[in-house]
């Protein structure tokens, strides 16, 4: 079944027709060519495909595009650009919070949400909030330092 939907991605409005089973991740990557959100488990378990839907983090690999009708989507590309980095992105650079960076967009988007809810999280609160985001390079310690630094910048 096809659905006519309208949604806003990173400030830009899109109108399109999607099949019922098409995921938001497929739409973002295949149609919009935004590659910051990535699949790594396909089951909402790793956080690599995280995007914000109306400001709330979701796993776009398991979120149907049709469900995003009327919603506002933010991907890491919408957070900041190379010429105008978001403070969280700056903090991740300053504290080296990545190795291969496959997980980084998800980590950064989660961090922006965390800091909105809790501007000065403790290390335990950071671990708890980010526990659904996996990093196989295991850069976790530097990601925590990046989040703490971001809390000072945001």
């Amino acid at each position: 079944m096809k659905h006519e939907i309208a949604l806003t991605v990173n400030g830009r409005e899109h109108r399109l027709t999607v099949e019922s089973q098409r995921t938001l991740l497929e739409f973002i990557r295949d149609d919009l060519k935004l590659f910051g959100a990535r699949e790594s488990c396909g089951m909402s378990l790793c956080g690599a495909c995280t995007v914000l839907v109306d400001g709330v983090p979701v796993s776009s690999c398991s979120y149907l595009a049709a469900r995003a009708n009327g919603k506002t989507i933010t991907t890491v590309e919408g957070l900041g650009t190379p010429d105008n980095l978001h403070p969280v992105q700056r903090a991740f650079i300053e504290r080296g919070g990545f190795q291969c960076s496959y997980c980084t967009p998800g980590m950064i988007l989660m961090t922006t949400c965390l800091l909105q809810e809790n501007p000065h999280p403790s290390i335990e609160e950071i671990k708890d909030y980010l526990s659904g985001n996996l990093c196989r390079c295991s850069t976790y310690e530097d990601i925590i330092q990046s989040v703490l630094a971001a809390a000072e910048l945001v």
Partner: protein, 818 residues
């Protein structure tokens, strides 16, 4: 925390403490100019690609789309071992949107050599005569999209006659076990694998495809003369790399004789050679490009999806992308399971007199690089100790399981699990301090290692002392159990290990200076998160005096970048680092005379740094490299090129004794000490403190070194505490992150101490050595030894799940009551 206490410098700023040279204009510095040479080696540098990484712009293969590109998918066997009777793909071929459907029979009809493998030519992109594991690819489809390809797979009918299967490595070695591979044809690709035996006409007689033998001294006599002999068996199950980026390859043919492949691979040069063999093309007609990798850890080595993508593209007449799913990752490559039997004789004065090791590596249905894992880890399977009598028999064994290949450490993690567990058992039984027992026997400078090769530039004793002190192992014991939580018992443990780096090998690099004085480094080293781009740039910046922000690294593109063996085995810093240092030195030889003439100074008087060059006696007159290039070419034009080749050589090991006076270009090593808390009511192990020290030779980028040591350590806690591929009749029962858990934020040690030890190696760039793997070597035994120290119970088979730990505690308690 592994992080530096201060933020990383922004790119270009991060020169050493003697940072100099303000914003003086072209040609002249103020009178306050400083003559000290800035150093960039040994300074914390942010990754060159940092901005692309935080903005999601980093290029991965899966981002690539070509006009007309199709999507390839694989039909996989549901049978563990069987003879293919019939594959009927006719219905799939008729499905609209399908451009190509291929079976093993089709491969035989094509003008290609379908047999591949880095050790033995035992694998084909699609099974031809037999399937050998559940997940073995049988057919492939290329279609307009993944949905159509998936639909086509369901239309393929397969008839397989089941054969008896064997899943256990010990059972696979027994006489009469089902024979998995009927013939062993050595691939002949790597010089260090000349010991492989077999041939086109040689029928295999056993599932052991390779045996490494080491004989030193007289092990039986040594065991007889020992005061005590200890016999133990340890094992670990297969696990999976779980690098977050899936395997992905895109292939495109041009004009029928040029093949262009983009692939998530750690070995672009190898892939080019092998595709050239497969399609009977000159290497110059095969182009392999690698952007960035989302992790590798050994999973993306040798050929994986490149052959099937290339064959599908050839058949379909269109570019084809093949990308795996998480489930398929578990079916494609694994870390070896191992069973190790150790007999060790010690004397009452704390020396190891003899060690006898019988080691069985479960290499799965295809050998992949299993024989090399067996061979290389064989050198040090008796541990990093000075033992006069050693016997090692190490077997690479086929079973009907997903293939096992390289994993960070190349087998050392597994053998270390065995010998370092036994070291602690011995120390406890003999009443020795586990740290002192190791220090008493550890190989030191000038000692002869079990292979007959002399140890040099290896600071393992230093690593052991460093980690022991870091967690206070020689100080008072922690209060255990604490009075307010009597079920939480603490203990401390240690482990250490060494590894031979792949030898012989070759790494080549080209360094170009452009008309404005900026630099390109052309290298086939793969940036997979380890930080090679930044490290190689630091070496070139140091050698030439250019700024980091003037350097760009050209990623592997075999049409452009020269040969490199592989990005694996902790090779890149030592080998490619030296190659770029040599290449930059060659460039320097061309540039310095130009500067000498302009500055009216002898070349030896010149110094360079921060993008400028000046005579040491006239520091206030400095030239930019752009100015030198303009002088050389008379206009803004030209490219100056330096090339570097760094080769290492070995003396092959003797087939019967494993002896060689030179098995390795250098040894890498590391040690780990752990303090754990065990909940005796649940068996749950919590890591309180984890300290890992690695001898890096010289830390070129200390932040990156600490980050890799911490990353390797935490990654190592996975196979130690939770990771295990569970098989049910050969079928992977947990091929997803639902049931296969890897360490997350919730699993971090209470404290992580990544520690750098520096014993420089004369052949390495600025003394640097390989280090990326060494942090993971001893994680498992250090934690298990800490658990044993806490609760007096030992689990000989990884992982240390709460259930197994609890059973071991109960068993130890019952033993104590008897």
């Amino acid at each position: 925390m592994s992080g530096a206490t201060s933020p990383l410098p922004v790119s270009g700023e991060g020169v050493g403490e003697r940072a100099i040279l303000g914003s003086a204009g072209e040609g002249h510095l103020g009178a306050t100019g400083v003559s000290a040479v800035p150093t960039i080696i040994g300074t914390d540098q942010p990754r060159l690609e940092s901005v692309a990484k935080v903005t999601g712009q980093l290029e991965f293969v899966d981002n690539l789309e070509l006009p007309g590109m199709l999507h390839g998918m694989l039909l996989r066997s549901l049978v563990a071992h069987g003879r293919i009777r019939r594959v009927d793909a006719s219905r799939a071929r008729r499905l609209p949107g399908v451009y190509a459907v291929l079976t093993g029979a089709d491969l035989l009809a094509m003008p290609i050599d379908p047999y591949t493998g880095p050790a033995f030519k035992d694998q084909t992109p699609l099974a031809i005569d037999k399937v050998r594991y559940v997940g073995d690819p049988i057919a492939a489809v290329a279609a307009v999209d993944r949905e159509t390809a998936e639909e086509a797979l369901e239309l393929i009918d397969v008839e397989i006659e089941e054969l008896p299967a064997v899943f256990d490595v010990v059972a696979a070695l027994e006489p009469g076990a089902p024979l998995i591979s009927e013939r062993l044809v050595p691939a002949g690709t790597f010089a260090d694998l000349i010991e492989l035996i077999g041939g086109e006409d040689v029928a295999a007689t056993s599932n052991a495809c390779f045996q490494y033998k080491l004989r030193r001294g007289d092990v039986e006599q040594g065991l007889r003369r020992a005061d005590r002999v200890f016999t133990h068996t340890f094992s670990n199950p297969p696990s999976q790399h779980a690098d977050l980026e899936y395997h992905c390859s895109v292939a495109q043919w041009t004009g029928g004789d040029k093949l262009h492949v983009w692939s998530a691979t750690q070995s672009p040069s190898y892939v080019r050679i092998m595709l050239s063999n497969m399609f009977h093309l000159p290497e110059s007609h095969v182009r392999v490009e690698v952007p960035y990798l989302g992790g590798g850890f050994g999973s993306k080595l040798y050929m994986k999806l490149e052959p099937i993508a290339s064959i599908l593209a050839r058949a379909a007449g269109r570019p084809v992308k093949v990308r795996l799913s998480r489930r398929e990752e578990f079916l494609t490559i694994t870390k070896h399971g191992l069973t190790a039997e150790l007999r060790t004789g010690v004397t009452n004065d704390g020396r190891i007199l003899a060690r006898d090791c019988r080691i069985m590596w479960d290499t799965g249905a295809y050998a992949d690089i299993g024989p090399r894992v067996t061979h290389k880890s064989g050198y040090t399977s008796a541990g990093p100790y000075d033992i006069p009598n050693v016997r090692i028999d190490s077997f690479s064994v086929y079973t009907n399981k997903p293939p096992a290949g390289a994993f960070r450490g190349f087998g050392i993690m597994q053998v270390c699990w065995a010998y370092e567990s036994q070291m602690d058992i011995i120390a406890k039984e003999m009443g020795w301090d586990p740290v002192e027992f190791r220090l008493r026997n550890v190989l030191r400078e000038g000692d002869v290692q079990a292979t007959g090769t002399t140890v040099s530039s290896m600071g393992l004793a230093d690593c052991i002392e460093t980690v022991a002190d870091a967690i206070g192992m020689r100080g008072p014991r922690p209060e255990s159990p604490p009075s307010d939580a009597p079920h939480l018992v603490r203990g401390r443990g240690i482990g250490c290990s060494m590894k031979a780096v792949i030898t012989p090998s070759a790494a080549e690099a080209t360094v170009q200076m452009h008309a404005d004085g900026s630099i390109s480094i052309l290298t086939s080293a793969v940036e997979m998160g380890q930080g090679s781009d930044t490290l190689l740039s630091q070496i070139v910046a140091e050698e030439l005096g250019v700024r980091m922000d003037q350097i760009s690294v050209v990623h592997p593109d075999t049409d452009v970048t020269p040969y490199d063996l592989i990005s694996a085995g902790s090779r890149t810093t030592f080998h490619m680092g030296k190659a770029v240092e040599i290449a930059a030195g060659e460039l320097r030889e061309q540039i310095w005379p130009i500067a000498a003439e302009l500055l009216d100074a002898a070349p030896a008087e010149l110094v360079a740094g921060d993008g400028r060059i000046w005579a040491v006696s006239v520091p206030d007159h400095a030239l930019t490299f752009g100015r030198l290039m303009t002088t050389r070419f008379g206009m803004r034009a030209g490219t100056l090129i330096g090339n570097g080749i760094f080769e290492t050589h070995h003396a092959p090991t003797d087939h019967e004794t494993g002896q060689s006076e030179n098995v390795t270009a250098h040894w890498l090593c590391g040690a780990t000490a752990a303090e754990v808390e065990v909940d005796v009511e649940t068996g749950k192990v919590r890591i309180v403190d984890l300290a890992t020290a690695v001898d890096v030779g010289k830390a070129i980028n200390p932040f990156a070194c600490r980050q890799q040591i911490a990353g390797a350590s935490i990654q190592g806690t996975g196979p130690t505490l939770m990771e295990e591929i569970i098989l049910s009749d050969g079928q992977v029962a947990n091929p997803s992150f639902v049931d296969y858990k890897i360490p997350s934020f919730e699993d971090l040690p209470g404290r992580m101490q990544p520690l750098i030890v520096e014993h420089p190696h004369p052949d390495g760039p600025s003394g640097a050595k390989g280090m990326g793997e060494a942090g993971i070597f001893a994680i498992a035994p250090a934690i298990a030894n800490a658990v044993a120290d806490a609760v007096g119970a030992r689990v000989p088979n990884l992982p240390l799940t709460p259930e197994k730990v609890l059973r071991a505690i109960r068993a130890a308690q019952q033993d104590g009551q008897r």
